[in-house]
Symmetry: C2
DNA sequence: ATGAAAGCGCTAACAC
DNA sequence: GTGTTAGCGCTTTCAT
């Protein structure tokens, strides 16, 4: 057992232990430039026996390079952002870049604070959810001089690049499918979140599609907090009791949709004959339910991948195109709860 | 529109714009020391109009202080670690400390790499899952000279502090409850993960409890990858077909348990009369299912909170006790799928 | 209440 | 292939 040093080890310690200059030690540790095998081995040995861990703070300051990518998302609690993260990691794992995540809980002022905090670490790029930000946040992003990718949503103007789906189009597509299936009395169940712009846009597209067919939302329910499964069940019970002639329920996410589906199955509703249901997101978790809920895949994995690729291209190989815009098209899944289009 | 500077702004820019020395600007921006209100206002104005974002890299190097806490966990894909994260954030939100997470995917060598990477940013503390690490990882932790909290599991020796539950005891408790309820032919369904030490320890405790009552595992099934809900369903079908006289199924997590529960309900099994089921974790998501699965809460929120408190105490208020050990006791939930103890 | 000097641990750029 | 010098942008310490 060697004596414990309270002061963390520095390059100088390795330099002294190996009898090689600090500069050469630095080169070895970063695999940079030409170093003779003999010197390299001496340095590696010394570093290992000492247990040296480089100080990236100092390295970053000296090199003006930080291999961090700031990822700013609303939450981790439903499965959607974790899946985006997987796409991001999948790409960044093949690069020296590392994602660092910050959560906003759907609050603009928190997003601003998190962004400020992250930018103060001078990351190589920023990936953040949504196109709606405070003026200050947009100003910071524009001034940061690093690639910025806004993800999830493409209904609006990005600061720099954007990758996502059109939630307005997604809502419209589902609305059209419901109309085509012949449902007439459509109820909507969603979250009470004025700041969830993507849910709002889906709702707008959805009502628009219904309106084109001369339909209006027959009834609606909103919730906040609590277990989504339980809330879905409760809201479904409420809306079906209040408006018994409803023949379709559109849920703003699959989790409340699943709760509603359980309720309807227990009550013995004829699905999708007399009552249809649909959610949004294509949550993998839910495969394996007794009945497959109609839904729409939000392309989360691909969004994460593409966003990371854009950042990586700029941060590493100089820079690719500026202000790239990628709009993915979500697939609709009819499952067992939405009739296919009627003749 | 002011002209875009590619070079990020520095303290010097704010100093020049406000006509105040860099030192005083620095003091204002950190609310340190005495600065006259007039000067303070001048500086704040200048910083805001310029859009200055401090460089924490430089700040950290100069002050030898980094308000980051490294959190190293296996995965984000089931709900357990996100919930631990919530506990951690809840506590750290009231401090200047910020969590930074790294994922290991249950691979020791990846844990070692992630740890090395994180330590190179010189965080104020480390929280990591489990007590099993590579020798190199343990050496790094011991040498880092910062508080280290190993979480989730308390069946073993920590490097420094530990907070968790005894998974061996948890398995034993569930085994005893099953025995007390009078079930005799018990099947086990779990993940094929030799490196999930906590699942292994639960299994050990479980079989021990059965053995004490003269029982052995009647049959078992393991899975890897795929949707847990689907796998739970498939494994349950397989085990019940192969060993029809089974009267209890113990699942290593609630998600596969839920899949199994669906299968059994569809097939019309008499639950919990002729067939009992239990999972592990108390996943909130699952409240709202048609039937409540027996389970055990792993105290995830409390683990996160307590771990963060230990780090905060050391990093901020000098240091608290060294090597603190906190063992939480998980609650058992009988739900609708496990009979209460038989007379 | 404010400023000047020194240096945190590393790397870029240039010698040799 | 290796070493030297000069900072990176802040904060610490000490002076005023």
């Amino acid at each position: 057992m060697t004596a414990q040093t309270r002061r963390p080890l520095t390059l100088r310690d390795v330099s002294e232990a190996s009898g090689v200059s600090e500069m050469t030690v630095s080169r070895v540790l970063r695999n940079r430039g030409d170093v003779s095998d003999k010197t390299r081995q001496k340095v590696l040995d010394a570093a290992k026996t000492l247990g040296y861990v480089p100080n990236k703070i100092a390295g970053a300051l000296a090199s003006q390079r930080v291999n961090l990518v700031a990822v700013i998302i609303p939450s981790m609690s439903n499965m959607v952002f974790p899946e985006v993260m997987m796409g991001i990691s999948e790409i960044l794992d093949d690069t020296p870049l590392q994602p660092v995540v910050g959560l906003t809980h759907y609050k603009p002022e928190r997003e601003e604070a998190v962004l400020y905090e992250m930018l103060s670490w001078r990351p190589s790029g920023v990936i953040l959810a949504g196109l709606e930000h405070t003026d200050a946040a947009r100003a910071m992003l524009a001034a940061a001089g690093i690639p910025v990718v806004e993800i999830m949503d493409t209904d609006g103007e990005p600061v720099d690049a954007m990758v996502g789906i059109s939630h307005r189009a997604a809502g419209r597509t589902m609305g059209e499918a419901i109309v085509a299936a012949g449902y007439k009395r459509v109820g909507f169940l969603g979250t009470k979140m004025p700041l969830d712009h993507r849910a709002r846009k889906r709702f707008e597209g959805f009502t628009l599609a219904l309106a084109k067919a001369g339909l209006e939302i027959a009834d609606q329910e909103f919730y906040a907090g609590g277990s989504a499964l339980v809330k879905g069940r409760e809201m479904t019970e409420a809306i079906l009791n209040r408006t018994p002639d409803i023949d379709f329920l559109y849920y703003s996410n699959d989790m409340i949709g699943a709760g509603g589906l359980f309720y309807c199955m227990e009550k013995g509703y004829d699905i999708p004959g007399k009552l249809g249901l649909a959610g949004f997101n294509g949550v993998n978790l839910l495969k394996g339910l007794p009945m497959q809920l109609a839904t729409m895949d939000a392309c989360r994995l691909d969004i994460g991948r593409k966003a990371a690729q854009i950042i990586a291209a700029h941060a590493l190989d100089g820079d690719g195109p500026e202000g790239e815009r990628v709009t993915l098209i979500p697939d609709i899944t009819f499952g067992d709860t939405l009739r296919p289009p009627q003749g």
